[in-house]
């Protein structure tokens, strides 16, 4: 397996986990009466960012020509993913709620891991390009 593909595979796994997680076990808060919680928007945004990152990972995996550009594009997506819960978009008011205790830390970890992969992938792809 080519070394440049390993970060893409890990990034694909992390982004899939973020997208699926935010709809299931890492989901934002749910009101008992079914109404939308303040953190609902952040959850939707994270789902979108996870999907975009998954597409970029696939591009890195299957197109060696586009890999470098795709890794570079993945970086701002990851940074957005890290900043979305709590910084760019508001979460619920109480720090003890699910969006603060589960969704936010998990998403920060997943997108930070993906950012690390994107950086590694970009460096490896750039080295390959230079050769």
């Amino acid at each position: 397996m080519k070394k440049t593909r390993i970060p893409a595979i890990v990034m694909l796994l992390l982004s899939s986990l973020a997208s699926l997680g935010v709809r299931t076990f890492l989901s934002p808060c749910v009101h008992e009466d079914g109404s939308l919680a303040a953190c609902h928007g952040a959850g939707q945004m994270l789902l979108g960012l996870g999907c975009v990152l998954a597409v970029l990972s696939l591009l890195c995996l299957f197109s060696s020509r586009a890999a470098f550009g795709a890794y570079l594009s993945a970086m701002p997506v990851c940074i957005l993913g890290i900043l979305t819960p709590g910084t760019i978009m508001n979460l619920c008011l109480m720090g003890t709620m699910r969006c603060h205790t589960v969704m936010q830390p998990a998403m920060i970890l997943l997108f930070s891991g993906a950012l690390l992969c994107a950086l590694t992938g970009a460096v490896l792809s750039a080295g390959k390009k230079a050769l």
Partner: protein, 399 residues
Amino acid sequence: MNIFSLAFKNLTRKGRRTAVLILLTAFLSLAVFGGSVMILSLQSGLNSLEARLGADIILVPSQAQSKVSFQNMFLQGTTGAFYMDASALDKVMEVEGVEKAAPQTFLASLKADCCSIRIQVIGIDPEKDFTVQPWIARSLSRELGDMDVAVGCKVEADVGEIIRIYDMRCKVVARLEPTGTGLDTAVYCSMETMAELLRAAEEKGVSHKIESGDDVISAVYVKVRDGYDIDTVNSRLNGHIRKATAVRTRSMITGVSDSLAGVSRTITVLIAAVWVLAFIILLLSFALIVRERAREFAVFRLAGASVSMLGSMVMLESALCGLAGGLAGTGAAALVLFPFSRLIENALNLPYLMPGLTQVLLLGVLTVVLSVAVSALSSTMAAYRLSRVNPGTALREGN
């Protein structure tokens, strides 16, 4: 080529064996670092709870104890509202042995005000208060003004932000330092602001009125004068004030302290079990590795390497595994413990306050050092066995 590069090459040449050794030491470090941080956090949480309660006795309406568990109010931030006549404060001051008494009024916000759970609003008298006010003073240099609120660190509102409680706009003027208790989830305001909020709550159908009128308080925090027995003062308060119950704060903390001791003991036993098990596995692993590499060491001996040099090489290899494993284990524990600290706190239902950065860094360094030391120690037996191997016999046995 020196011993260090030789040991390093030996480790990289046998990647899988090295990975297993690193994994084992990583598991060790994860248990030690994770367990130690948890024990320290629980201990700081209890200290913080003791410091924050500050009072010796709390006087509450008689019906309060059936309405809400005080332990839950202080530990988990469970909301609770109960009222008694404000004249109870004067009656408390009449009791012999009372040094200070401070009233507090509680109000639970509506779910719809901010989010899907209710927030406890606590009204204090800044002039009389000796429990919450010193804590607020660390974050706010002036007194709480009209419609000003100070929020606990788990209420995610920034200074300057407006939060709505019963449709009243309250300005956040301070965010308080974490205490690791339920007090972090409350909102604090002055008695004047609380009166406004009670009026607004009344309009929304949440009544606080009692038979004697609407001049109410929820609790009186009492500090007993030096030289007086707290139990005696407690009994005097119970006898002097009707329709109210005096509770010793120590009795609330004792329950928490017992649970905390139980959790700490379990974690300590688990850490010890993991260490003993891992040490035995490491000991056996190194013994097997040395046996497997007997011919390799015999060739080294014939090439002129001394017994002590080979022993040092084995110990260096294991120390390097310990270092890598120690760093990986400590890092993995940190990745779970710090981002998910609030989840752990919710799950434990005990006061939980993370130690400071310096303490954590020191603990991390100690864990890595311990991991290196244990790895090196577990290979000493193998190094000793190595010194007794005859190169000629080892080579012949290999053939």
